[in-house]
């Protein structure tokens, strides 16, 4: 499959990232980059360090070594707030929704950085606060429509099935209108049809909004079909990097991850 969309400059560059927890080496000297507008997949066997990689990118984990260059700015590690502020949003592998809140409110939280009114205005619910609330609500409703979760809009997310929660989580990340979207297994627990919708969806976001996407996924079909470039991790080391086709042909990758090619 050829990629006709234009991918731009490198906006995120990771150099020599190493991360360990006590004795466990989660990541060892990993370098790779992400270009603007591309869909970058990270694959690898369980416990390879994929989720840790995302955690490093948005500052949940601080790597012991390495450098992160994001939009020209070089640093040793990110910090979660700064990452969010500069346009990195993400979803989590173990759903991290706000369980007690409704779907609508969960997605609304995604827009918090865009809200200007201070709490006094919100308490009084004065004109501007109300207007702001409604403006954001409209945006969120668009996302809700897009994800086809209108019927559960007011349901507390704790009551939703696993798959629906995944969708809501994606919605929350999207609501932030991020520049980079980090997705950790967004399609786990979905059936093919739902995965198709989800893929379409990711592609649309990527196409229409130009959002850069970093994606972890175990479904090779999806990865091969929608990603532009793929990084392969194994035991915290990088064992492959390239287009889907290249990676697919890499014997090391086959041994470590894919098993018998299919």
């Amino acid at each position: 499959m050829t990629n006709k969309r234009k991918t731009g400059e490198v906006i995120l560059d990771l150099q020599g990232i190493s991360l360990s927890f006590g004795g466990v080496k989660a990541l060892t000297n990993i370098s790779f980059n992400v270009r603007e507008h591309e869909i970058r997949a990270i694959i690898g066997p369980n416990g390879a360090g994929k989720s840790s990689m995302l955690n490093v990118i948005n500052g949940v984990y601080r790597p012991q070594e390495g450098q992160i260059t994001y939009r020209g700015r070089q640093r040793k590690d990110m910090n979660t707030y700064a990452a969010a502020k500069s346009g990195i949003a993400r979803t989590f592998q173990n759903i991290a929704l706000f369980k007690g809140m409704s779907v609508l409110n969960n997605i609304m939280t995604g827009r918090n950085l865009k809200m200007q009114c201070n709490f006094l205005m919100q308490a009084l619910y004065l004109g501007s606060a109300r207007k702001e609330e409604i403006a954001h609500r409209e945006k969120v409703e668009e996302i809700i429509d897009f994800l086809e979760i209108q019927h559960i809009r007011k349901t507390p997310v704790g009551r939703l099935s696993y798959g629906l929660q995944k969708r809501v989580e994606l919605g929350r990340a999207l609501a932030a209108e991020p520049e980079i979207l980090l997705l950790d297994e967004p399609m786990a627990g979905m059936n093919v049809e739902e995965k198709q919708d989800m893929s379409r969806f990711i592609l649309d976001v990527n196409d229409q909004l130009g959002t850069t996407i970093v994606l972890i996924e175990h479904d090779m079909g999806v990865v091969m079909d929608i990603s532009d470039r793929v990084v392969v991790l194994d035991y915290g080391k990088k064992i492959g990097d390239g287009t889907p086709a290249e990676v697919l042909a890499n014997q090391e990758v086959i041994n470590a991850y894919l098993g018998v090619a299919h």
Partner: protein, 300 residues
């Protein structure tokens, strides 16, 4: 500074700390087994002591008969609590369970006074609460014999419970339950039985604490307040650690006494009410789960 006085305060504090630890143990036991902060522990201490004294006074029994009888009562109480209160609340948020134990507190307090009246009683154990003469003469340091025996009993309890938790299958199951009720049920851990056992053991610990504290303070409603002394011990040592309770107790006991004696006069005294809490708070700032508590896992 008068050195022997300092040691006296220090030792007195350490021994008081042991008494706090005794109460804290009951909390740890239940928290560890179910993630429930048992607000009713103080009431259970009171109930146990009052029942013991009540039985012995009303039916003119010797302590050696009254104590096992009370033990039986506490076991029944523990099982009943599991059956009536906890079982329907499996898998509920901890704050709900916490609240249920508050309800329980009222119930037990009412029950205790309904059964045995509201009069304070004296409780005489065959251990005398007088200074050990030997230490008195030799070093001019005052240590009560009672405290030393209490410390021994506490040590035995701590060792026993620590072994129970770390070495047995039940211990592991208890920790599993505290982590995730649903999953524990799914692997076949008989939550009901386990809670029954734990509450019964907690009842036993409450009885021991009740007897020792009762002998010191008299058996009266105020025994429920000893829980307030145990809380800072608990947070300092960690809710989930049996050895933490004893170490926390020692630290709190000693520093609270030293503070009252040496800092108290500077600020007008009476700081024992809040000092242990502030101290524990400072420790928490460094280690948010107490000295020995299990780290709270926050991974996403």
């Amino acid at each position: 500074m008068n050195l022997s006085f300092f040691f006296e305060v220090l030792i007195g504090g350490l021994l008081s700390g042991v008494m706090y630890a005794l109460v804290a143990l009951g909390f740890v036991l239940i928290y560890k087994a179910s993630g429930v902060f048992n607000f009713a522990q103080g009431a259970m201490v009171f109930f146990a002591a009052l029942t013991c004294v009540g039985l012995s006074e009303k039916f003119d029994l010797s302590m050696w008969v009254a104590i096992p009888l009370t033990m039986a009562v506490m076991i029944v109480l523990g099982l009943a609590i599991e059956r009536i209160v906890l079982r329907p609340l499996v898998n509920q948020p901890e704050i709900t369970l916490f609240m249920a134990t508050i309800g329980l507190t009222f119930f037990i307090e009412g029950l205790a006074q309904l059964l045995w009246g509201s009069q304070p009683h004296k409780l005489t154990l065959p251990i005398e609460d007088v200074p050990i003469e030997f230490l008195m003469e030799k070093f001019n340091i005052l240590v009560s014999q009672f405290d030393v025996i209490a410390a021994l009993i506490c040590a035995i309890l701590v060792t026993g419970l620590a072994l129970l938790f770390s070495k047995t299958k039940i211990g592991r199951a208890l920790r599993a339950v505290a982590d995730d009720h649903q999953a524990a049920l799914a692997v076949g851990i008989p939550l009901q039985q386990i809670w029954g056992i734990v509450w019964a053991v907690a009842g036993f610990v409450a009885l021991v604490a009740g007897l020792l504290w009762g002998a010191r303070n008299g058996v009266q409603f105020a025994l429920t307040f000893v829980a307030l002394k145990a809380l800072p011990v608990l947070i300092l040592g960690g809710f989930t650690s049996v050895p933490g309770a004893i170490v926390g107790g020692l630290i709190i006991g000693a520093s609270e006494k030293l503070a009252e004696v040496y800092i108290g006069p500077l600020v007008g005294g009476g700081i024992e009410g809040w000092f242990p809490y502030v101290l524990a708070l400072l420790f928490l700032l460094v280690r948010p789960e107490g000295l020995f508590g299990e780290k709270i896992i926050r991974r996403i």
